[in-house]
């Protein structure tokens, strides 16, 4: 068969498709990049490879629940906490060190309003009450008998990306700026099934969801969302939901801002209107230039960010690279990601890694020949509703300088002649 193997791309594929070295994504799809394009490898001598020390002794034994390599110490969340607390704050995913779309459970982002409660699953209860025909209390064991559903979904804190609202570009990278976004396969019971079991009063139009943390974190959610694709999630990437992500059960509202996906879920009350809790009045609103605030801005809008190269990942020599990143939208599927290497003067379409799933992180990739000179990298996502990720200027023009939440502006990385990557506004 290999005798039929031909060079699978034409030389045209290596012609730029946008300014400053962006190449056609077909170079990847067709599986060949060609001798002329990249030559990173050193010629082998006639000698075989040396026998390394780890080949001379039996290796380590088995482990019930394993860990990453000791050489991957950087693979960790970073966090900040409110003064005087240890567990009130947010821990960020090192997206710049990851590839693919799944976030391992150990580094899924977390936002806690009073630390991670130490919940005993045997005594934990979920109460359904309010405008229902009959109140119900579920044990975990009860819920386990209900039919389940799985879906891969992103979660993003409503405050993710807020550093882009600052007047001057912060000297930070993907983890600090956008690390409050992650993606996992969630499995659980459809909330609609449980609500139907309780019998929904026709007057009910909203629900209140409350967590079993010391903060009693709670949010109001339109009933329509609860009856649509909401899940009481019991499993995260196959195993039980992690304590930091709501063990033993959390709400999953695909596409909606993070804290509405209430962790440590203990109570759902059906109501006529929103409850106006502290977590949706003093926080998680979008303040406009005139001082008024938008309340209940629920889905996370279409967004993308280049994760590689990005600050901290230095290019060591000119030549061919892959530009890669993540895109997502709370409104559905990502349909297009464009990348620019010349600060937005010209754009080229990136390849999207299949399967592209609704309300999940989507990996994009595009080949790039770095000529060793300055470059300004941007990515721009479009979702299936036609929504296009805005520039920072455009978003600031709409929102002014007092906003904190829902910052989905285009992020810009500048590559210097030394190959160092820096966050800039450009």
């Amino acid at each position: 068969m290999i005798s039929d193997q031909k060079s699978v791309h034409s030389s045209d594929d290596l012609e730029p498709v946008a300014g400053n070295g962006l190449l056609h994504r077909r170079v990847f799809l067709t599986g060949g990049i060609g001798l002329a394009a990249i030559a990173l490898t050193e010629p082998a001598s006639a000698e075989p490879l040396p026998i390394e020390s780890w080949m001379k002794v039996p290796g380590a034994g088995f482990d019930g629940y394993g860990k990453p390599s000791k050489y991957e110490e950087k693979l960790a969340r970073t966090w900040n906490t409110a003064p005087g607390t240890t567990g009130t704050g947010a821990a960020r995913t090192p997206l710049h060190l990851l590839d693919g779309m799944i976030t391992p459970n150990g580094i899924h982002f977390e936002r806690s309003h009073s630390g991670i409660p130490d919940i005993n699953p045997d005594t934990h209860r979920l109460l359904i009450h309010g405008l229902v025909k009959r109140s119900l209390i579920f044990t975990l064991e009860d819920l386990e008998r209900y039919p389940r559903e799985s879906r891969i979904a992103f979660l993003e804190c409503g405050g993710n990306g807020q550093l882009l609202y600052q007047k001057e570009p912060v000297a930070a990278g993907v983890q600090a700026i956008h690390g409050l976004a992650s993606c996992a396969e969630w499995t659980g019971v459809k909330l609609s099934v449980v609500l139907q079991e309780a019998g929904v009063d026709p007057k009910a139009k909203w629900i209140l969801a409350e967590g079993a943390d010391a903060a009693g974190m709670s949010r109001s959610i339109p009933l329509a969302k609860a009856m649509d694709d909401a899940l009481i999630a019991l499993y995260q990437n196959g195993e039980r939901v992690r304590p930091s992500n709501g063990y033993p059960m959390r709400l999953l509202l695909p596409g909606y801002e993070g804290n509405m996906n209430v962790k440590w879920l203990r109570r759902i009350k059906l109501t006529e209107g929103p409850t106006m809790t502290k977590d949706e009045t003093s926080k998680y609103t979008v303040t406009l230039p005139d001082g008024k605030s938008l309340q209940f801005v629920l889905p996370q809008e279409g967004k993308s960010v280049i994760t590689r190269p990005s600050p901290g990942l230095t290019l060591k020599q000119s030549g061919l690279y892959e530009i890669s990143g993540l895109a997502w939208s709370g409104y559905g599927k990502i349909t297009q990601v464009e990348v620019s290497a010349d600060g937005g003067k010209s754009w080229a379409k990136a390849a999207l890694q299949s399967p592209v799933l609704s309300k999940a992180l989507t990996r994009f990739r595009i080949p790039w020949r770095w000529n060793g000179g300055p470059a300004v990298l941007k990515s721009r996502a479009t979702d299936e509703t036609g929504y296009v990720q805005p520039t920072r200027d455009k978003l600031i023009a709409m929102r002014g300088s007092r906003a904190i939440y829902h910052c989905n502006a285009i992020t810009t990385w500048a590559v210097s002649e030394k190959g160092e990557v820096k966050h800039v506004y450009a």
Copy 2:
């Protein structure tokens, strides 16, 4: 909107679709199971839920790389090792405790022939040689500049399920019998890209892949597979491949038997024929009744197993349950899983969790009303090539009693009147 909400299933949905209580999968797809079908819940009193101890104090703080809840101690691999060794053997995934299709990295199965080598990624090298235009040596940093691809794929040890070849049914459950199968999102560089870079000699028809473990585990692979969908995997579920799964790089041959997906990959040699290594002559062959062995049985054939209920998961009362399990095929997508509750007399189609991906674990589910009497549960997978998972009798008739590998026979669980689940041949 909820005022328009109606009971979303007709009473027909709760009529059995196969013997001994199997219900139509539509019960799930339409999202309602109805008051009459299941009443596990206790009525709530007028009082709110009690304030549990964990709501009265701030919870735990943040952690760089998190762990499962302390209440999930059972979530661990179990293993056996060859006499006198600590790292030669196999560790099994607790599939009965998982849901969804992803296996968390900490409990992905592993099979090691001389333990897990402690590889320094900075000094690790990958050599491409043999029938190539020029030999090449890659550092990890070299490989990182190549274009990447992600795919969700199952891995299964060729020896998984071999307990079903035993004359009497072993008193064991899913983990012991089928736990050498897992599924992850793998990201890496297409092997074809690297081989094209080296320049494939038309005489080459096979490759030899060798690991950097002390066993020098090595296998021969048809070049056609190497040029098709083979990946040099660098990432597993988003993060770097785990040491137990080949850090810093492993081969991924979607659908092919586990040990061909060589871990700790250090060398690929292009050859005219298979190399006949110890790992494909003394082992990993399928011995037939006449004493001859089939060599190079490469893809894992279509298979399924019910994970819930299964041994160790006892049904505490009669009523509605979900029967759930996993199906997979090394030939492509799963197209159908049938379930029987009466020992194979009648079968009903289970619902398949989307997205159904080629050569990935596929979750199936079907509602079941257990009447409290004896039941005999089986599942049977069909893949897109039309291949149907065989009964144990049929497989034994073909293979005799001397076979060890590639046991994909239907597994049977018997449910007693006490709700206990047992492995049986029936």
